[in-house]
């Protein structure tokens, strides 16, 4: 089966070639796939989205959506995709219902026709349907934006950082909705800076400085983590981190939540452990831990 989204050696620069935003990116997303583009702010995610949604022209390379070329067939693409930009982009002075109605008619559709697609989301918005969109909470705004992007039953859905600035509960709900949409056969490309959301995608691509570091399923990425990972904790974190930098057996160490994650060269764990105990760090914890997506991302960054 042909890929639904194809990026082939795409390069995009800004400021007359001075600033490289997308650096020879190639990607393929299969029909019906929930694909995540994972990377920090400024990695080039939005540029890729805009190239795919025909809003920007790439400097070089080819791209297609649903078999349509993003340059030649831009009009056709604009009819069949749903796009939710990273920034809240609805009319703040129109009510929830008016926004939805408006975007439905823009796409020659109406709310009834595809109500089944948005029902789960819209029931949560229903109590506020007469409220102006600008007065909604962050999570509600994103739900409304998703509804507006879905109301014409797009074949491919582009969601650029849909959960940025949204509370953890709403984020979780949002991802549950995406999973249900995927069941409807909609291909979804979603970007996020949150590593914990990566595991919810079918396949992910790590992106940094405009380069794709790795494309794989989340499980496979976790499996491929090469080293043993240790979680180290102490009440004196600063001292701990300084110390870890001086131990030659440490391959890498970085802050991870309230602890430090470190990979250690083969056979080195005993030595490291001893050094830490000798240093007399207060309430030391030293244990192996399972790598998470973020660990893998950092791993690829160092390569």
């Amino acid at each position: 089966m042909a890929s639904e989204i194809i990026l082939d050696d795409i390069v995009k620069t800004y400021g007359k070639g001075k600033q490289l935003a997308v650096d020879h990116v190639s990607l393929q997303v299969q029909p019906g796939e929930l694909f995540g583009l994972i990377g920090p702010d400024g990695a080039g995610k939005t540029s890729i989205f805009r190239i795919l949604t025909t809003l920007l022209l790439a400097d070089s390379g080819n791209a297609s959506v649903a078999g349509l070329d993003v340059v030649k067939d831009y009009k056709a693409i604009r009819k069949i995709v749903g796009y939710m930009p990273g920034k809240f982009s609805l009319y703040p002075d129109l009510t929830v219902k008016e926004n939805l109605q408006f975007f439905a008619t823009v796409f020659n559709s109406d709310i009834q026709e595809n109500y089944h697609l948005i029902r789960d989301i819209y029931v949560q918005l229903e109590p506020f349907k007469e409220r102006r969109a600008g007065k909604l909470s962050g999570g509600m705004k994103q739900k409304l934006a998703l509804c507006c992007a879905l109301i014409h039953k797009p074949r491919v859905l582009f969601l650029d950082e849909p959960t940025t600035g949204v509370d953890p509960v709403s984020r979780k709900e949002f991802w549950q909705m995406l999973a249900r949409l995927k069941e409807q056969g909609i291909t979804i490309l979603v970007s996020t800076p949150y590593m914990d959301e990566a595991g919810l995608c079918e396949r992910i691509a790590f992106i940094q400085n405009g380069k794709i570091l790795k494309t794989e399923t989340p499980d496979q990425i976790l499996k491929e983590f090469p080293d043993a990972l240790y979680k180290i904790q102490s009440d004196n974190m600063y001292h701990l981190m300084e110390l870890l930098k001086q131990i030659p057996e440490i391959k890498s160490s970085y802050a991870f939540g309230d602890s430090v994650h470190a990979t250690i060269k083969e056979q080195g764990s005993q030595t490291v452990r001893q050094r830490l105990i000798d240093a007399g760090l207060p309430s030391l914890v030293f244990e192996t831990t399972k790598p998470q997506i973020e660990d893998c991302f950092i791993q690829y960054l160092h390569e």
């Binding site: 920007l56 009009k75 796009y83 002075d93 129109l94 823009v106 796409f107 507006c148």
Partner: protein, 368 residues
Amino acid sequence: MKQFWSFIRKEFLHVFRDRKTLIILFGMPVVQILIFGFALTNEIKNSRIMVLDAAHDIQSSRLISKIQASRYFQVTQIVHNEAEIQEGFRGGNVNIAIVFPLNFGHDLESGERPQLQVLADASDPNLATALTNYVSNITADYQREIQKINTPIPTIVPEIKMMYNPQLKGAPNFVPGVMALVLLLVCVMMTAVSIVREKETGTMEILLVSPFKPILVILSKTIPYLFVSLINVGSILLLSVLVLDLPIHGSLLLLLLESTLFIITCLILGIFISVKTQTMQAAMLISLMGMLLPTMLFSGFMFPIENMPKPLQIISNIIPSKWFYIIVKSIMIKGLGWEAIWKETLYLLGIAVFFFALGMKNFKIRLA
């Protein structure tokens, strides 16, 4: 078509939900007409005049009462020496002074070339010139009166008739001006800002990724402002007829059609600005600097174009308000018809077509 209607509906919602702006939009013409009509006026009434009458004879006192009787002057002070005149000017409470020499009446009666000194505060040169002219006219008038009685020498009496505006009212001049100004402001600035707002809020990004034609996005934006502007034309005309006693001499239909053409020209300029700018601030600044200021300067409303140096006169030709100002004056005040304004109308049409083409050419179907 259904899409287009829903778009226009949305635009009306935007305009009517923004209450503050709406009040300004509808209130501005009313306030401007009232301010220009009653507060700001360059008509000279009741100027304070000071009289030093050294002659104290029949001729001088008759001339003084003639001056007093005119509506231009109000004799505030009778003084007795030069020093008091100086003081009066320095105090700033008189605009003009007249000095009658000792034997004014005698000279006049014996044909000795009587003299009359007129001093004016020329720190406002226009006012000073106007006032001294009035004084000269009154004295000339007076002289003719007595000549008629004394000697039957034939004199040339210019019969002056102020065409179209016999009472030299200010209103005929500023009503067309305010119309041009208000329509320009509403149409250019509001349209420019409202389209750029879609770019700034990011909604343009979504609209571009839709089957809807971008050009229609923009056209639909202009409809509410066309509507608002037509209401403004109505309110300005009503006010000028009812409050300022300025009747519409020509065809009302023609006036409304020409106003619509001007409104459309302004909307097109607004579109052009919005196509070229990225932020609301820039759009607003360009509308103000590029449209409002030239309108004030070059429409002929505030400063007569005939007096400007040639290059500025040429520049004034690309200002749509200039043509509209001429058109409104011709229809409303002179009561002229189509045959008098077709040239100006063509100019307006030309400007509209030119900027429409330019705007369309520059319209971006993508971001950046």
